[in-house]
């Protein structure tokens, strides 16, 4: 008789908590937010675990973390929107510094933050979390082909954005 056994849920904190925190830290760009979101994600996962049979526990946890992060981002959306508008309003004055700062870490972070959510997540998952495209697809709830396309589009947009500044 073949019996597959799911690991104790607690072991998933040791096994994946570190990298998931890294992911949320990159995705949300804020340590405290990432910490709260990690707790929310594990709570959600804990409740779902008894009735879940995931093929890939790692991808399953990334999916929950991604969705939890989205919910938080939407909740904070109004606030962020206001901040963005303020940034926009003072944008003209900033052009000069933007050119000087272009392609440093902060400028790229801001640009990644403005990418569509799926593209942003796909890029981070593939490149900095080391997920295979199949896992990226499982985490984002899309096809593998779509996962590849998201990463490709993300890089294309970033490249276009920063090369435009080159042309200035």
């Amino acid at each position: 008789m073949l019996v597959t056994t799911k690991p104790d849920f607690e072991t998933l904190v040791d096994a994946y908590g570190g990298e998931l925190f890294g992911y949320l830290w990159r995705l949300l760009g804020d340590e405290t937010e990432a910490e709260d979101c990690l707790q929310d994600s594990y709570l959600r996962a804990y409740k779902a675990y008894p009735r879940t049979e995931p093929d890939n526990l790692r991808a399953w946890l990334y999916k929950i973390a991604t969705n939890t992060a989205r919910t938080r981002q939407q909740r904070n959306g109004r606030q962020q929107h206001t901040e963005l508008n303020e940034e926009h309003a003072s944008g003209e004055m900033r052009v000069e510094t933007q050119v000087l700062q272009r392609l440093n870490a902060e400028a790229v972070k801001a640009a990644v933050g403005r990418l569509p959510r799926q593209q942003q997540a796909a890029l981070l998952l593939r490149k900095y979390q080391g997920l295979a495209y199949g896992e990226v697809a499982a985490a984002l709830g899309c096809s593998e082909q779509a996962a590849r396309a998201h990463v490709y589009q993300a890089l294309k947009k970033l490249r276009a954005q920063f090369s435009e500044e080159d042309d200035d």
Binding site: T5, D8, E10, F21, A34, E35, L155
Partner: protein, 222 residues
């Protein structure tokens, strides 16, 4: 679209070659500090500990005359004994009771030893605390009454129904015993039908087991 697949930088830990890739790596490659990660994980463990419910320890007891048995114990006593069950279904059951299933041969050892001795023919009664609190009051009464039936004797479903003061509930008594979560220790095998047959047994204990347990206790069948 295939370009995305052929960019070596997209492999984990591959080094950057373009200015954009360098900038992305500068922003994201390092990630949070080890101390921050440890703090975040500790906070998760703490949160989970408050959510997880009371620990319920279980283990597989091998080499009993009835084959391998799953045994689970909580803080209040024995929770379940299962034959031919999988670890997953046992864990699902313990989750349903609101507990946190933890596999531990150490915590289960005392109960396991008693059950094993009993099954090897040791005549001392199995005196183990049982936790029936997750059952209905009726089920609890039936099982408590069944615990009083001494080794080597049998009662009928009717007798149990009578002794709990509910003589019309014969079928319900049968149902409660059929769903006895702690066979052997709550000796549902000692309750038989009025016509002397073993009774409509299924659930966690099949007729053959019931018969072998009764034989072990010295009950003879004409």
């Amino acid at each position: 679209m295939t370009k995305a697949n052929t960019n070596p930088w997209l492999e984990h830990n591959a080094s950057a070659s373009t200015p954009l890739e360098h900038a992305l790596d500068a922003a994201y490659a390092a990630g949070p500090s080890a101390a921050t990660i440890e703090r975040a994980q500790a906070a998760v463990r703490q949160t989970l500990a408050t959510q997880a419910g009371p620990p319920m320890y279980y283990d597989l007891v091998q080499d009993t005359p009835l084959g391998p048995l799953w045994i689970a114990v909580g803080e209040q006593g024995l929770l379940t004994i299962e034959y031919e069950s999988s670890e997953d279904s046992l864990r699902a059951y313990l989750h349903k009771l609101g507990g946190q299933p933890l596999r531990s041969s150490e915590r289960v050892a005392a109960a396991a030893e008693q059950v094993r001795l009993y099954l090897l023919g040791d005549t001392q009664a199995v005196e183990l605390a049982v936790d029936l609190s997750h059952l209905t009051p009726f089920q609890q009464r039936v099982l408590q009454e069944t615990r009083r039936v001494p080794r080597g004797q049998v009662r009928t479903y009717m007798q149990i129904a009578n002794s709990i003061g509910n003589p019309k509930a014969v079928r319900a008594v049968g149902q409660a015993l059929r769903h006895n979560p702690i066979p052997i220790v709550v000796p549902c095998h000692r309750v038989v039908a009025s016509d002397g047959t073993l009774g409509g047994y299924g659930g966690k204990m099949r007729d053959a087991r019931k018969l072998s347990l009764l034989k072990l206790e010295g009950v003879s069948f004409a």
